[in-house]
Protein backbone atom coordinates (compact mmCIF):
# COMPACT_ATOMS: atom_id res chain seq x y z
CA UNK A 1 0.00 0.00 0.00
CA UNK A 2 1.38 3.35 -1.01
CA UNK A 3 1.26 6.22 1.37
CA UNK A 4 1.04 9.04 -1.10
CA UNK A 5 -1.61 11.68 -0.71
CA UNK A 6 -4.69 11.28 -2.79
CA UNK A 7 -6.15 14.42 -4.19
CA UNK A 8 -9.50 14.94 -5.74
CA UNK A 9 -9.53 15.29 -9.49
CA UNK A 10 -10.96 18.72 -10.22
CA UNK A 11 -11.17 18.22 -13.97
CA UNK A 12 -14.77 19.14 -14.94
CA UNK A 13 -14.68 16.66 -17.81
CA UNK A 14 -13.98 13.84 -15.42
CA UNK A 15 -16.53 11.09 -15.27
CA UNK A 16 -15.98 10.53 -11.56
CA UNK A 17 -18.27 12.10 -9.02
CA UNK A 18 -17.10 13.73 -5.84
CA UNK A 19 -18.83 13.00 -2.56
CA UNK A 20 -18.37 14.83 0.70
CA UNK A 21 -18.72 12.12 3.30
CA UNK A 22 -19.06 14.16 6.45
CA UNK A 23 -18.14 16.20 8.45
CA UNK A 24 -21.59 15.60 9.89
CA UNK A 25 -22.81 12.57 8.06
CA UNK A 26 -24.97 10.34 10.29
CA UNK A 27 -23.13 7.23 9.13
CA UNK A 28 -19.73 8.39 10.31
CA UNK A 29 -20.61 8.66 14.02
CA UNK A 30 -18.57 11.76 14.68
CA UNK A 31 -17.00 14.73 13.01
CA UNK A 32 -15.05 13.16 10.18
CA UNK A 33 -14.77 14.53 6.72
CA UNK A 34 -13.67 12.45 3.78
CA UNK A 35 -13.84 13.82 0.29
CA UNK A 36 -14.28 10.81 -1.90
CA UNK A 37 -13.96 10.44 -5.62
CA UNK A 38 -16.43 7.84 -6.78
CA UNK A 39 -16.78 5.75 -9.87
CA UNK A 40 -20.36 4.63 -9.41
CA UNK A 41 -20.31 3.17 -5.92
CA UNK A 42 -16.64 2.37 -5.94
CA UNK A 43 -14.17 4.70 -4.28
CA UNK A 44 -11.36 5.81 -6.55
CA UNK A 45 -9.57 8.00 -4.08
CA UNK A 46 -10.25 9.86 -0.91
CA UNK A 47 -8.72 12.43 1.34
CA UNK A 48 -9.42 12.80 5.04
CA UNK A 49 -9.71 16.17 6.71
CA UNK A 50 -9.48 16.15 10.48
CA UNK A 51 -9.25 18.73 13.23
CA UNK A 52 -12.87 19.81 13.45
CA UNK A 53 -12.92 19.53 17.22
CA UNK A 54 -9.30 20.34 17.94
CA UNK A 55 -9.13 21.94 21.39
CA UNK A 56 -5.38 22.38 21.86
CA UNK A 57 -5.14 20.12 24.90
CA UNK A 58 -1.37 19.91 24.66
CA UNK A 59 -1.09 23.68 24.85
CA UNK A 60 -3.61 23.92 27.69
CA UNK A 61 -1.74 21.19 29.57
CA UNK A 62 1.41 23.32 29.58
CA UNK A 63 -0.42 25.82 31.76
CA UNK A 64 -2.10 23.57 34.29
CA UNK A 65 -0.96 21.72 37.38
CA UNK A 66 -0.95 17.93 37.04
CA UNK A 67 -4.24 17.23 38.74
CA UNK A 68 -6.06 19.70 36.50
CA UNK A 69 -4.96 17.81 33.40
CA UNK A 70 -7.12 14.79 34.26
CA UNK A 71 -10.32 16.46 32.97
CA UNK A 72 -8.54 17.11 29.67
CA UNK A 73 -7.80 13.42 29.27
CA UNK A 74 -11.50 12.66 29.82
CA UNK A 75 -12.22 14.36 26.57
CA UNK A 76 -9.82 12.33 24.46
CA UNK A 77 -11.57 9.01 24.05
CA UNK A 78 -14.82 9.92 25.76
CA UNK A 79 -16.23 6.42 25.29
CA UNK A 80 -13.73 5.08 27.82
CA UNK A 81 -12.55 8.13 29.76
CA UNK A 82 -11.53 6.18 32.91
CA UNK A 83 -8.71 4.49 30.98
CA UNK A 84 -7.40 7.89 29.94
CA UNK A 85 -7.70 9.22 33.51
CA UNK A 86 -5.87 6.24 34.97
CA UNK A 87 -3.22 6.41 32.27
CA UNK A 88 -2.52 10.00 33.18
CA UNK A 89 -2.42 9.31 36.92
CA UNK A 90 -0.01 6.46 36.36
CA UNK A 91 2.20 8.68 34.22
CA UNK A 92 2.44 11.23 37.02
CA UNK A 93 2.96 8.50 39.59
CA UNK A 94 5.82 7.15 37.50
CA UNK A 95 7.34 10.62 37.39
CA UNK A 96 6.99 11.07 41.15
CA UNK A 97 8.01 7.50 42.05
CA UNK A 98 4.75 6.81 43.83
CA UNK A 99 3.93 3.16 44.45
CA UNK A 100 0.23 2.58 44.74
CA UNK A 101 -1.17 -0.02 47.16
CA UNK A 102 -2.35 -3.29 45.62
CA UNK A 103 -5.96 -2.52 46.39
CA UNK A 104 -5.76 0.67 44.35
CA UNK A 105 -4.31 -1.29 41.43
CA UNK A 106 -7.16 -3.76 41.56
CA UNK A 107 -9.76 -1.02 41.83
CA UNK A 108 -8.20 0.61 38.80
CA UNK A 109 -8.27 -2.62 36.85
CA UNK A 110 -11.96 -3.03 37.59
CA UNK A 111 -12.71 0.45 36.34
CA UNK A 112 -10.44 0.25 33.31
CA UNK A 113 -11.87 -3.07 32.20
CA UNK A 114 -15.41 -1.81 32.66
CA UNK A 115 -14.46 1.12 30.48
CA UNK A 116 -13.02 -1.20 27.87
CA UNK A 117 -16.26 -3.18 27.81
CA UNK A 118 -18.27 0.06 27.50
CA UNK A 119 -16.13 1.15 24.58
CA UNK A 120 -16.33 -2.20 22.78
CA UNK A 121 -20.09 -2.33 23.35
CA UNK A 122 -20.45 0.89 21.39
CA UNK A 123 -18.06 -0.08 18.64
CA UNK A 124 -19.45 -3.56 18.02
CA UNK A 125 -23.04 -2.49 18.59
CA UNK A 126 -22.73 0.32 16.08
CA UNK A 127 -21.02 -1.98 13.61
CA UNK A 128 -24.16 -4.08 13.82
CA UNK A 129 -26.33 -1.03 13.21
CA UNK A 130 -24.28 -0.08 10.17
CA UNK A 131 -24.73 -3.51 8.68
CA UNK A 132 -28.46 -3.32 9.26
CA UNK A 133 -28.98 -5.08 12.57
CA UNK A 134 -30.31 -2.71 15.18
CA UNK A 135 -31.33 -5.29 17.76
CA UNK A 136 -27.91 -6.26 19.03
CA UNK A 137 -27.06 -2.65 19.64
CA UNK A 138 -30.11 -2.18 21.84
CA UNK A 139 -29.39 -5.32 23.87
CA UNK A 140 -25.87 -4.16 24.56
CA UNK A 141 -26.55 -0.48 25.11
CA UNK A 142 -28.66 -1.26 28.15
CA UNK A 143 -25.52 -2.63 29.78
CA UNK A 144 -23.37 0.31 28.93
CA UNK A 145 -25.89 2.23 30.99
CA UNK A 146 -25.16 -0.11 33.90
CA UNK A 147 -21.45 0.58 33.54
CA UNK A 148 -22.18 4.30 33.61
CA UNK A 149 -24.17 3.79 36.78
CA UNK A 150 -21.14 2.14 38.32
CA UNK A 151 -19.00 5.16 37.39
CA UNK A 152 -21.68 7.38 38.85
CA UNK A 153 -21.56 5.51 42.12
CA UNK A 154 -17.80 5.87 42.29
CA UNK A 155 -17.09 9.36 41.00
CA UNK A 156 -20.45 11.02 40.43
CA UNK A 157 -20.29 11.48 36.70
CA UNK A 158 -20.96 9.31 33.70
CA UNK A 159 -19.25 10.30 30.49
CA UNK A 160 -16.35 12.60 31.31
CA UNK A 161 -15.52 10.91 34.54
CA UNK A 162 -12.43 12.61 36.00
CA UNK A 163 -12.21 9.44 38.06
CA UNK A 164 -9.41 8.83 40.53
CA UNK A 165 -6.63 11.09 41.75
CA UNK A 166 -2.87 11.03 41.63
CA UNK A 167 -2.05 8.21 44.06
CA UNK A 168 -5.40 6.46 44.06
CA UNK A 169 -9.07 7.27 44.19
CA UNK A 170 -10.89 10.30 45.55
CA UNK A 171 -13.10 8.04 47.67
CA UNK A 172 -13.49 4.39 48.46
CA UNK A 173 -15.87 2.19 46.48
CA UNK A 174 -19.02 1.89 48.55
CA UNK A 175 -21.07 -1.25 49.00
CA UNK A 176 -23.56 -0.16 46.34
CA UNK A 177 -20.73 0.18 43.83
CA UNK A 178 -19.47 -3.32 44.58
CA UNK A 179 -23.01 -4.67 44.36
CA UNK A 180 -23.48 -3.02 40.99
CA UNK A 181 -20.20 -4.39 39.67
CA UNK A 182 -21.12 -7.91 40.84
CA UNK A 183 -24.56 -7.54 39.34
CA UNK A 184 -23.02 -6.42 36.07
CA UNK A 185 -20.57 -9.29 35.70
CA UNK A 186 -23.43 -11.67 36.41
CA UNK A 187 -25.93 -10.09 34.05
CA UNK A 188 -23.66 -9.18 31.17
CA UNK A 189 -22.23 -12.57 30.04
CA UNK A 190 -25.58 -14.02 28.86
CA UNK A 191 -26.21 -10.81 26.93
CA UNK A 192 -22.81 -10.91 25.31
CA UNK A 193 -23.41 -14.54 24.45
CA UNK A 194 -26.71 -13.65 22.87
CA UNK A 195 -25.05 -10.81 21.00
CA UNK A 196 -22.45 -13.20 19.62
CA UNK A 197 -25.17 -15.67 18.70
CA UNK A 198 -26.91 -12.90 16.80
CA UNK A 199 -23.87 -11.95 14.76
CA UNK A 200 -20.98 -14.40 14.65
CA UNK A 201 -22.57 -16.87 12.27
CA UNK A 202 -25.24 -14.58 10.87
CA UNK A 203 -25.13 -14.97 7.11
CA UNK A 204 -25.94 -11.35 6.35
CA UNK A 205 -23.46 -9.98 8.84
CA UNK A 206 -20.66 -12.33 7.79
CA UNK A 207 -21.24 -11.56 4.11
CA UNK A 208 -21.04 -7.86 4.84
CA UNK A 209 -17.92 -7.97 6.98
CA UNK A 210 -15.72 -10.93 6.14
CA UNK A 211 -13.00 -10.03 3.68
CA UNK A 212 -13.90 -6.35 3.89
CA UNK A 213 -10.91 -4.06 4.35
CA UNK A 214 -8.36 -6.76 5.20
CA UNK A 215 -5.06 -5.42 6.50
CA UNK A 216 -1.85 -7.39 6.50
CA UNK A 217 0.33 -7.50 9.59
CA UNK A 218 3.07 -5.62 7.72
CA UNK A 219 0.76 -2.77 6.76
CA UNK A 220 -0.70 -2.60 10.24
CA UNK A 221 2.78 -2.33 11.76
CA UNK A 222 3.97 0.12 9.17
CA UNK A 223 1.03 2.38 9.95
CA UNK A 224 1.73 2.02 13.69
CA UNK A 225 -1.67 0.52 14.35
CA UNK A 226 -2.24 -0.69 17.86
CA UNK A 227 -4.95 -2.18 20.01
CA UNK A 228 -7.70 -4.45 18.69
CA UNK A 229 -6.97 -3.38 15.10
CA UNK A 230 -3.35 -4.52 15.23
CA UNK A 231 -4.33 -7.70 17.03
CA UNK A 232 -6.98 -8.44 14.43
CA UNK A 233 -4.20 -8.25 11.85
CA UNK A 234 -2.34 -10.98 13.72
CA UNK A 235 0.17 -9.16 15.95
CA UNK A 236 -0.22 -10.00 19.62
CA UNK A 237 0.84 -6.63 20.97
CA UNK A 238 -1.04 -5.64 24.07
CA UNK A 239 0.49 -3.11 26.46
CA UNK A 240 -1.17 -4.87 29.39
CA UNK A 241 0.81 -8.01 28.62
CA UNK A 242 4.04 -6.46 27.30
CA UNK A 243 4.57 -3.73 29.87
CA UNK A 244 2.20 -4.56 32.69
CA UNK A 245 1.09 -1.56 34.69
CA UNK A 246 -1.26 -1.47 37.65
CA UNK A 247 -0.44 -5.11 38.58
CA UNK A 248 -1.78 -6.60 35.35
CA UNK A 249 1.08 -9.10 35.58
CA UNK A 250 -0.70 -10.86 38.47
CA UNK A 251 -3.73 -11.54 36.35
CA UNK A 252 -4.60 -14.40 34.10
CA UNK A 253 -5.96 -13.27 30.75
CA UNK A 254 -5.50 -13.97 27.08
CA UNK A 255 -4.73 -11.64 24.22
CA UNK A 256 -7.06 -12.53 21.36
CA UNK A 257 -5.49 -12.35 17.91
CA UNK A 258 -7.16 -12.29 14.51
CA UNK A 259 -5.94 -13.52 11.16
CA UNK A 260 -6.32 -11.06 8.35
CA UNK A 261 -7.39 -7.81 9.98
CA UNK A 262 -10.71 -7.51 8.16
CA UNK A 263 -13.84 -6.04 9.70
CA UNK A 264 -15.07 -9.44 10.84
CA UNK A 265 -11.80 -10.22 12.62
CA UNK A 266 -11.84 -6.88 14.39
CA UNK A 267 -15.38 -7.59 15.52
CA UNK A 268 -14.41 -10.99 16.89
CA UNK A 269 -11.31 -9.65 18.62
CA UNK A 270 -13.35 -6.97 20.38
CA UNK A 271 -15.96 -9.49 21.48
CA UNK A 272 -13.30 -11.78 22.86
CA UNK A 273 -11.67 -8.85 24.65
CA UNK A 274 -14.93 -8.22 26.45
CA UNK A 275 -14.86 -11.80 27.74
CA UNK A 276 -11.28 -11.31 28.87
CA UNK A 277 -12.22 -8.06 30.57
CA UNK A 278 -14.96 -9.87 32.46
CA UNK A 279 -12.41 -12.44 33.58
CA UNK A 280 -10.09 -9.69 34.75
CA UNK A 281 -12.84 -7.97 36.72
CA UNK A 282 -13.80 -11.24 38.37
CA UNK A 283 -10.21 -11.92 39.40
CA UNK A 284 -9.81 -8.38 40.65
CA UNK A 285 -12.94 -8.71 42.78
CA UNK A 286 -11.53 -11.87 44.39
CA UNK A 287 -8.11 -10.32 44.97
CA UNK A 288 -9.53 -7.13 46.39
CA UNK A 289 -11.21 -9.01 49.21
CA UNK A 290 -7.84 -10.02 50.64
CA UNK A 291 -6.69 -6.42 50.86
CA UNK A 292 -7.51 -4.06 53.74
CA UNK A 293 -10.83 -2.55 52.79
CA UNK A 294 -10.11 1.01 53.94
CA UNK A 295 -7.16 1.67 51.60
CA UNK A 296 -8.02 3.54 48.45
CA UNK A 297 -5.02 5.78 47.87
CA UNK A 298 -1.28 5.84 48.35
CA UNK A 299 0.18 7.69 51.31
CA UNK A 300 1.48 10.72 49.43
CA UNK A 301 0.33 13.80 51.35
CA UNK A 302 2.23 16.11 49.00
CA UNK A 303 0.09 15.08 46.04
CA UNK A 304 -3.08 13.56 47.39
CA UNK A 305 -5.60 16.05 48.78
CA UNK A 306 -6.31 15.55 52.50
CA UNK A 307 -9.91 14.98 53.63
CA UNK A 308 -11.81 18.23 53.93
CA UNK A 309 -12.55 17.98 57.65
CA UNK A 310 -8.83 17.69 58.36
CA UNK A 311 -8.14 20.76 56.25
CA UNK A 312 -10.32 22.77 58.64
CA UNK A 313 -8.88 21.32 61.84
CA UNK A 314 -5.30 20.32 61.16
CA UNK A 315 -2.52 22.75 60.29
CA UNK A 316 -0.46 20.25 58.33
CA UNK A 317 -3.42 19.18 56.24
CA UNK A 318 -4.23 22.82 55.52
CA UNK A 319 -0.66 23.42 54.31
CA UNK A 320 -0.75 20.39 52.03
CA UNK A 321 -4.17 21.34 50.74
CA UNK A 322 -2.94 24.82 49.87
CA UNK A 323 0.27 23.57 48.27
CA UNK A 324 -1.51 21.00 46.14
CA UNK A 325 -4.24 23.34 44.98
CA UNK A 326 -1.78 26.08 44.12
CA UNK A 327 0.56 23.65 42.37
CA UNK A 328 3.37 24.43 44.79
CA UNK A 329 4.77 20.93 45.22
CA UNK A 330 8.32 20.10 44.19
CA UNK A 331 8.46 17.71 41.25
CA UNK A 332 11.52 16.08 39.69
CA UNK A 333 12.98 17.20 36.38
CA UNK A 334 12.56 14.18 34.14
CA UNK A 335 11.00 12.80 31.02
CA UNK A 336 8.43 10.05 31.19
CA UNK A 337 6.74 7.98 28.55
CA UNK A 338 3.97 5.85 29.92
CA UNK A 339 1.58 3.81 27.83
CA UNK A 340 -1.64 2.09 28.73
CA UNK A 341 -3.78 -0.17 26.62
CA UNK A 342 -6.64 2.12 25.72
CA UNK A 343 -9.82 0.70 24.27
CA UNK A 344 -8.57 1.33 20.74
CA UNK A 345 -4.84 1.06 21.12
CA UNK A 346 -1.71 2.20 22.84
CA UNK A 347 -2.52 5.41 24.63
CA UNK A 348 0.78 7.04 25.49
CA UNK A 349 1.64 10.06 27.59
CA UNK A 350 4.96 11.73 26.91
CA UNK A 351 5.54 14.09 29.79
CA UNK A 352 8.54 16.41 29.97
CA UNK A 353 8.76 18.00 33.37
CA UNK A 354 11.07 20.82 34.41
CA UNK A 355 9.96 21.03 38.03
CA UNK A 356 7.51 23.86 37.42
CA UNK A 357 3.86 24.01 38.36
CA UNK A 358 2.77 22.45 35.09
CA UNK A 359 4.36 20.12 32.53
CA UNK A 360 6.97 21.66 30.26
CA UNK A 361 5.52 19.61 27.45
CA UNK A 362 2.87 16.95 27.36
CA UNK A 363 2.16 14.92 24.28
CA UNK A 364 -0.60 12.39 23.93
CA UNK A 365 0.06 9.41 21.70
CA UNK A 366 -3.52 9.06 20.60
CA UNK A 367 -4.37 5.70 19.00
CA UNK A 368 -7.36 7.07 17.06
CA UNK A 369 -5.19 9.68 15.38
CA UNK A 370 -2.61 7.15 14.33
CA UNK A 371 -5.08 4.39 13.41
CA UNK A 372 -7.17 6.71 11.27
CA UNK A 373 -4.48 7.67 8.79
CA UNK A 374 -4.76 4.41 6.91
CA UNK A 375 -8.45 5.02 6.30
CA UNK A 376 -8.22 7.06 3.09
CA UNK A 377 -5.50 4.97 1.43
CA UNK A 378 -7.20 1.70 2.35
CA UNK A 379 -10.58 2.88 1.05
CA UNK A 380 -9.36 2.99 -2.51
CA UNK A 381 -11.15 0.43 -4.62
CA UNK A 382 -13.67 -0.24 -1.87
CA UNK A 383 -17.43 0.07 -2.17
CA UNK A 384 -18.85 3.09 -0.40
CA UNK A 385 -21.01 0.89 1.84
CA UNK A 386 -17.93 -1.12 2.82
CA UNK A 387 -16.02 2.05 3.60
CA UNK A 388 -18.77 2.99 6.04
CA UNK A 389 -18.55 -0.23 8.02
CA UNK A 390 -14.77 -0.07 7.80
CA UNK A 391 -14.91 3.28 9.56
CA UNK A 392 -17.23 1.88 12.22
CA UNK A 393 -14.92 -0.96 12.98
CA UNK A 394 -11.84 1.28 13.20
CA UNK A 395 -13.56 2.77 16.25
CA UNK A 396 -12.22 6.26 15.66
CA UNK A 397 -13.33 8.63 18.41
CA UNK A 398 -13.35 12.24 17.25
CA UNK A 399 -12.20 13.59 20.61
CA UNK A 400 -9.11 11.46 20.57
CA UNK A 401 -8.48 12.02 16.88
CA UNK A 402 -8.35 15.78 17.20
CA UNK A 403 -7.24 16.24 20.83
Amino acid sequence: MQNHPVYIDTDPQSEYSTLNLGPTHPATHGVFQNVLQLDGERIVSGVSTIGYIHRAFEKIAEHRPFYQITPLTDRLNYCSSPINNMGWHMTVEKLLNITTPKRVDYMRIIIMELARIADHIICNGVLGVDTGAFTGFLYMMEHREEIYEIYEEICGSRLTTNIGRIGGFERNFNQIAFDKIRKFIKKFPPVLKEFEALFNRNRIFVDRTRGVAPVSAEDALSYSWSGPLLRAAGIDYDVRAMEPYSSYDEFDFEVPVGENGDVYNRFLVRNEEMWQSLRLIEQALTKIEKEPSDIFHADVPAFYLPPKEEVYNNMEALIYHFKIVMGEVETPTAEVYHAVEGANGELGFYLVNDGGRSPYRLHFRRPSFINYQMYAPMSRGMLLSDAIINMSSLNIIAGELDA
Binding site: M1, N3, H4, P5, I50, G51, H54, A56, E58, K59, I60, E62, H63, K94, D219, L221, S222, Y223, S224, W225, I235, Y237, M242, E243, M326, E328, A334, E335, V336, Y337, A339, E346, G348, Y350, V352, G356, R357, Y360, R361, H363, R365, F369, I370, Y372, Q373, M374, D402, A403
Partner: protein, 167 residues
Protein backbone atom coordinates in the same frame (compact mmCIF):
# COMPACT_ATOMS: atom_id res chain seq x y z
CA UNK B 1 13.69 -12.67 23.69
CA UNK B 2 14.47 -10.51 26.62
CA UNK B 3 14.84 -6.81 26.85
CA UNK B 4 17.94 -5.33 25.22
CA UNK B 5 20.15 -3.65 27.82
CA UNK B 6 20.69 0.06 27.30
CA UNK B 7 24.49 -0.38 27.26
CA UNK B 8 24.21 -2.97 24.51
CA UNK B 9 21.91 -0.72 22.51
CA UNK B 10 24.25 2.20 22.91
CA UNK B 11 27.24 0.06 21.93
CA UNK B 12 25.51 -1.02 18.72
CA UNK B 13 24.64 2.57 17.87
CA UNK B 14 28.18 3.73 18.64
CA UNK B 15 29.66 1.03 16.43
CA UNK B 16 27.65 2.18 13.46
CA UNK B 17 27.33 5.91 14.01
CA UNK B 18 30.37 6.90 16.03
CA UNK B 19 30.22 10.53 17.06
CA UNK B 20 26.80 11.13 15.53
CA UNK B 21 24.80 9.57 18.33
CA UNK B 22 25.20 10.41 21.99
CA UNK B 23 23.38 9.34 25.08
CA UNK B 24 21.54 12.07 26.95
CA UNK B 25 19.93 10.02 29.67
CA UNK B 26 17.84 7.05 30.53
CA UNK B 27 14.99 8.36 32.68
CA UNK B 28 12.98 5.46 34.06
CA UNK B 29 15.07 3.02 32.04
CA UNK B 30 14.14 4.44 28.65
CA UNK B 31 17.34 5.10 26.75
CA UNK B 32 17.40 8.57 25.21
CA UNK B 33 19.93 9.43 22.53
CA UNK B 34 20.58 12.61 20.64
CA UNK B 35 21.13 12.10 16.93
CA UNK B 36 22.52 14.45 14.29
CA UNK B 37 19.88 15.50 11.80
CA UNK B 38 21.92 14.36 8.80
CA UNK B 39 22.05 10.72 9.89
CA UNK B 40 18.55 10.36 11.32
CA UNK B 41 17.24 8.36 8.35
CA UNK B 42 20.19 5.98 8.60
CA UNK B 43 19.79 5.58 12.35
CA UNK B 44 16.06 4.90 12.08
CA UNK B 45 16.61 2.44 9.23
CA UNK B 46 19.36 0.70 11.18
CA UNK B 47 17.21 0.40 14.28
CA UNK B 48 14.29 -0.93 12.27
CA UNK B 49 16.14 -3.42 10.11
CA UNK B 50 18.93 -4.72 12.36
CA UNK B 51 18.17 -8.36 13.01
CA UNK B 52 18.99 -8.19 16.71
CA UNK B 53 17.27 -4.89 17.48
CA UNK B 54 14.15 -4.84 15.27
CA UNK B 55 12.61 -1.55 16.36
CA UNK B 56 9.79 -2.16 13.92
CA UNK B 57 7.12 -0.14 15.67
CA UNK B 58 7.14 3.65 15.42
CA UNK B 59 5.30 4.69 18.54
CA UNK B 60 5.31 8.41 18.10
CA UNK B 61 6.89 11.50 16.60
CA UNK B 62 6.55 14.86 18.28
CA UNK B 63 8.60 17.94 19.08
CA UNK B 64 9.54 20.24 21.94
CA UNK B 65 10.52 23.88 21.89
CA UNK B 66 13.33 25.10 24.17
CA UNK B 67 13.61 28.84 23.48
CA UNK B 68 16.73 29.24 25.62
CA UNK B 69 18.76 26.69 23.69
CA UNK B 70 20.81 27.42 20.63
CA UNK B 71 19.09 24.63 18.74
CA UNK B 72 15.58 25.40 19.84
CA UNK B 73 13.37 22.69 18.37
CA UNK B 74 13.80 19.10 19.41
CA UNK B 75 12.13 16.42 17.30
CA UNK B 76 11.40 13.35 19.40
CA UNK B 77 10.97 9.83 18.09
CA UNK B 78 9.76 6.94 20.21
CA UNK B 79 10.48 3.50 18.80
CA UNK B 80 9.45 0.15 20.17
CA UNK B 81 10.99 -3.23 19.46
CA UNK B 82 8.04 -5.57 19.85
CA UNK B 83 10.05 -8.80 19.81
CA UNK B 84 12.43 -7.71 22.56
CA UNK B 85 10.00 -5.33 24.26
CA UNK B 86 12.52 -2.50 24.33
CA UNK B 87 11.80 1.15 23.80
CA UNK B 88 14.15 3.89 22.69
CA UNK B 89 13.76 7.64 22.42
CA UNK B 90 15.66 9.61 19.78
CA UNK B 91 16.05 13.36 19.79
CA UNK B 92 17.15 15.57 16.95
CA UNK B 93 17.73 19.23 17.72
CA UNK B 94 17.24 21.84 15.01
CA UNK B 95 17.91 25.54 15.00
CA UNK B 96 15.12 27.90 14.01
CA UNK B 97 16.88 29.07 10.85
CA UNK B 98 17.19 25.52 9.54
CA UNK B 99 14.19 23.45 10.50
CA UNK B 100 14.78 20.77 7.91
CA UNK B 101 14.93 17.10 8.75
CA UNK B 102 14.55 14.06 6.48
CA UNK B 103 11.15 12.42 6.64
CA UNK B 104 10.58 9.07 8.33
CA UNK B 105 7.52 8.38 6.19
CA UNK B 106 9.76 6.49 3.76
CA UNK B 107 10.49 4.02 6.56
CA UNK B 108 7.08 3.87 8.24
CA UNK B 109 3.83 4.80 6.52
CA UNK B 110 2.49 5.82 9.91
CA UNK B 111 5.01 8.65 10.19
CA UNK B 112 3.01 10.64 7.66
CA UNK B 113 0.43 12.17 9.97
CA UNK B 114 2.73 12.30 12.97
CA UNK B 115 5.07 14.49 10.94
CA UNK B 116 2.20 16.58 9.65
CA UNK B 117 1.15 17.17 13.23
CA UNK B 118 4.70 18.11 14.22
CA UNK B 119 4.90 20.50 11.28
CA UNK B 120 1.52 21.95 12.14
CA UNK B 121 2.46 22.79 15.73
CA UNK B 122 6.20 23.46 15.55
CA UNK B 123 6.98 24.24 11.92
CA UNK B 124 9.49 21.43 11.47
CA UNK B 125 9.92 20.79 7.76
CA UNK B 126 10.25 17.13 6.92
CA UNK B 127 12.13 16.90 3.63
CA UNK B 128 10.74 14.32 1.28
CA UNK B 129 7.37 14.12 3.05
CA UNK B 130 4.69 13.35 0.45
CA UNK B 131 2.07 15.76 1.77
CA UNK B 132 3.36 18.22 4.34
CA UNK B 133 0.27 20.26 5.16
CA UNK B 134 -1.33 21.39 8.39
CA UNK B 135 -3.49 18.71 9.89
CA UNK B 136 -5.34 19.84 13.02
CA UNK B 137 -5.21 23.61 12.64
CA UNK B 138 -6.82 25.62 9.86
CA UNK B 139 -4.85 25.77 6.63
CA UNK B 140 -4.45 29.56 6.64
CA UNK B 141 -2.95 29.74 10.11
CA UNK B 142 0.32 31.66 9.98
CA UNK B 143 2.00 30.63 13.23
CA UNK B 144 3.15 27.40 14.80
CA UNK B 145 1.11 27.49 17.98
CA UNK B 146 2.94 25.01 20.21
CA UNK B 147 6.07 27.16 20.24
CA UNK B 148 6.67 28.77 23.60
CA UNK B 149 6.35 32.35 22.39
CA UNK B 150 2.63 31.91 21.84
CA UNK B 151 0.94 32.21 25.21
CA UNK B 152 -2.24 30.38 25.96
CA UNK B 153 -3.89 33.12 27.92
CA UNK B 154 -3.94 36.87 27.77
CA UNK B 155 -0.24 37.80 28.06
CA UNK B 156 -1.13 40.82 30.20
CA UNK B 157 -2.57 38.66 32.92
CA UNK B 158 -0.21 38.65 35.89
CA UNK B 159 -2.04 36.80 38.66
CA UNK B 160 -0.55 33.47 37.68
CA UNK B 161 3.04 34.60 37.23
CA UNK B 162 5.64 32.46 38.91
CA UNK B 163 7.13 35.30 40.96
CA UNK B 164 3.94 35.50 42.98
CA UNK B 165 4.71 32.00 44.13
CA UNK B 166 8.29 32.59 45.18
CA UNK B 167 9.86 31.31 42.01
Amino acid sequence: MGKIANEELLRRLDENFAGKVKETGADFGLLTVEVDADVITEVLTFLKTDSALKFIFLTDITAIHYPEQEKQIGVIYHLHSLTTNTRIRLKVFLSLDNLHIPTASTIWDGANWMERETYDFFGVIFDGHPDLRRILNVDDMTVFPMRREYPLEDPNRVDKKDYFFGR
